[in-house]
Amino acid sequence: MNSIVTPIKSETLVIIGNGMVGHHCVEQLIERGALAHYDVHVFGEERQRAYDRVHLSEYFGGRDAESLALCEADLYTLHGVHLHLGVQVLEIDRQTREVVTTAGRQAYDRLVLATGSYPFVPPIPGADGSSRLVYRTLDDLDAIRAAAVHARRGVVVGGGLLGLEAANALKSLGLEAHVVEFAPRLMPVQLDAEGGSALRARIEALGVGVHLSRATQEIVPGEEYAYRMNFNDGEFLETDLILFSAGIRPQDALGRSAGLAVAERGGVIIDGDYRTSDPAIFAIGECASWNGSCFGLVAPGYAMARNLAAQLVGEQHDPFAGADMSTKLKLLGVDVGSIGDAHAATPGAKSYRFIDETTGSYRRLVISADGKKVIGAVLVGDNSYYDTLLQYAQNAIALPKDPSSLILPLSDGAPTLGADALPATATICSCHNVSKGAVCCAVDAGCTDLGDLKAETKAGTGCGGCSALLKQVFEHELSARGVAVDKSLCEHFAHTRQELYAIVRVEGVISFDELIARHGRGHTGCEICKPAVGSILASCWNQPITDPALVPLQDTNDTFMANMQKNGTYSVVPRIAGGEITPDKLIALGVVAKKYDLYTKVTGGQRIDLFGAQLHQLPDIWGELIEAGFETGHAYGKSLRTVKSCVGSTWCRYGVQDSVGMAIRLEDRYKGLRAPHKIKFGVSGCTRECAEAQSKDVGVIATEKGWNLYVSGNGGMRPRHAELFATDLDDATLIRFIDRFLMFYIRTADKLQRTSVWRESLEGGLDYLKEVVIDDSLGLAAELEAQMQLVVDRYECEWANALQDPEKLKRFRTFVNDERGDPDIHFVKERGQRRPVHASELHLIPVTEETP
């Protein structure tokens, strides 16, 4: 793209500050064509161009400064904006209309202050260097990282939103973290007493020390740690570094020294049009004070930037009228939400409260004196209630008959407000101020794709918190206009997985190319349809997944027949059917793990997982494992994983059947079976259920007379007890029923749908499933059994197959033109084994060993 050349620029606009709000203002000016009129100069005090301060903590999680940047490096130059980074503005000369900077003087016709805020550090004697750190800029974070190198413990002063963020950052640097708060509760601004104590319980459970009602009086040298903080109550706490996060103050020094009107509590005073007491100077974001308040969130800052830009180009704009300070976030992994009048400060306000002390969950609903509207809410532990409550509060929607239902736990999750109940004025995306009406307009204008909608309206592209609601409103509006909501697998197949499965079966399709040529669009596919079709082909025909035509379809885990971990290395899980293993094989596993220095852990499925192998090591490792009698465990596949068993009647005094024998028989039968999602089995030898079979997709529990069969259980994120399906079965009938059940699941489930969700979506429920599987109501039983038998007969260990074929092995090279391993993979020792290095430990690398 060429830069836009504009011959006449009649005015000079100077923006001081290149933070999130200042940058948003520039973006808005560019978008509105303001560069045709203004010569724009932007001054940023920091070295880096504008970056995402909201996600600052990810800097310690491995993201670098560049990936946090809010725009491409050349955006400003491309549009002719002059960006002066690392240049501090020292003074505003209102007489001559110039700003005086460390680099000289710059004249302006109009000036925008977007200087943000600075962290407040209370004057405490002894606070200096590593005992006076703050958490605001990338440079601050570098200082914290440097201070943390030799530290064991870190303390954050301030238990508000930013303080807890900072505590998380210290934790991610490997420090023991503590929070010291002056108020008697955490997040005193957003939470009430009960909410604060629920949050405290959660955070303490994470190993973060919480010290409330404490004021630090002085910092002196410590005995066990570098510093000792002496508190007002005579107590003390020792630490190696101290981070202050005791609130922010508007950065109004420039305005103050230039004689602009400044609010009593700080901030350059603005009117509704963002104008300061000097009509040529505007202020937006955290440095501005409107009606006595400053607004320390991104959404109001963006709203100010957007409206000021519109005003500067003479477009219609909204005067500032305050901002909703409702917020939801995850602090140290704990959901926290605060809406409107969280403290019920409004006269006559009444509250409903829900407290669950066992999980540390708390919810408070504040309603108006007339009992008709939601005016506030507090959430700790579960933010799934937030969207609905916010809509009630923002749009003054009439309360349901029993308002407590809005915060009470429901058996099927949080209550949701139907998309149709929202008025057109309801704000869907508060970051970009997109209303339901705007979504409707886009749909009326012909938008039928969620991605296009986001690109067009920008909804859902800020913090992303509204994504679920946006999708719901969008789909509802489409249906309301008679547009069929697209249930296509992806842009390449206008079919559901079930339909594709039927096509593959009926037409005998054996390759992706054949399927996309006959029934799809394009020629390449994508990462959604390729693995889905790969799975269907495997379920139907069970050809080795490493065949050249099949290998590009597989997810990386299937491609390399191992599980990719966060640093790009793999873990290896050989099959240990039923959890039964001979001492010799156990030794063989140990020998391989030791030889390749693999981190070794016993899995929940009674197997052994070996972590940290590089791509080029996998064939050697598997060569040795196969030599020792192992075969692949399919831990990487959407396929049968394990059949967990208890020791059964062979050894146990209570056992009534040989559960280990049955588990091995089942695992050997269904190993390698590809399905819409992973499948787990359990077999227990008596009703005591030590194998936890009722939490598995297929559970088998021994009885005096045979076996009881349970189906569609699940552990994981949404646990579900398996349902009793048939009782007192003999071995042959048990296997026949499982054959039919699994093949019916494979035939009818959606992609990546576990048996539990599939079973719940079956019309007719469990009774219908029994009719199909037990009574053969569809006349399918023989076919399903035959299909299963084909898969069983074609079983072959994928690793043994691949090792015989040099062509297949050629993919297992870290570099195709070099013998070396990946030089960026580093490990450190922990509890006698190696593990991946954390981003914060990169300074440790010189003393760690690399894999050859």
């Binding site: 491995g62 020629h523 596919g525 290998v551 990719m564 966060k566 790009g568 050629k810 195709v816």
Partner: protein, 130 residues
């Protein structure tokens, strides 16, 4: 930086300085419709070979490091097509990068470096960073 790097067996009379191209690996090292990774003087280059597309045979060379995870895994992603663009989906967090210029579909601030690359007979040749 954003120069497209899709080339299919260009004529010998390339307008570029032929000295700028160097041998990276051989055609036999490539895996059809999928990725492999080559070492280039300290850089890791993910190569994606699509032998049959409507535009003919295509070869792409992008940076192997996934900016979101910091791991060198891009070469092990799935090749696909999104709204007409050929893309690679990162295997860890599944974000997409356009093969032609390395731009990220979901996170505009992320970008993979791309190299000009071509097949010269059985030799894969790589050019200087665009």
């Amino acid at each position: 930086m954003s120069q497209p790097n899709a080339l299919s067996a260009p004529p010998l009379s390339s307008s570029r300085n032929s000295n700028a191209w160097s041998r990276l690996c051989s055609r036999q090292d490539l895996v059809a419709n999928s990725g492999v990774v080559a070492w280039l003087d300290g850089a890791q280059v993910a190569l994606f070979h699509l032998p049959h597309t409507p535009d003919g045979e295509q070869l792409f060379a992008v940076e192997n490091r996934d900016p979101k995870s910091g791991a060198n895994v891009v070469g092990r992603g799935i090749v696909g097509q999104l709204k007409g663009d050929l893309v690679i989906a990162s295997p860890l967090y599944k974000q997409h990068y356009r093969l032609k210029d390395g731009s990220c579909v979901e996170y505009p601030e992320q970008r993979l470096r791309v190299w000009p690359v071509r097949l010269n007979g059985d030799v894969v040749e790589i050019g200087p960073l665009g």
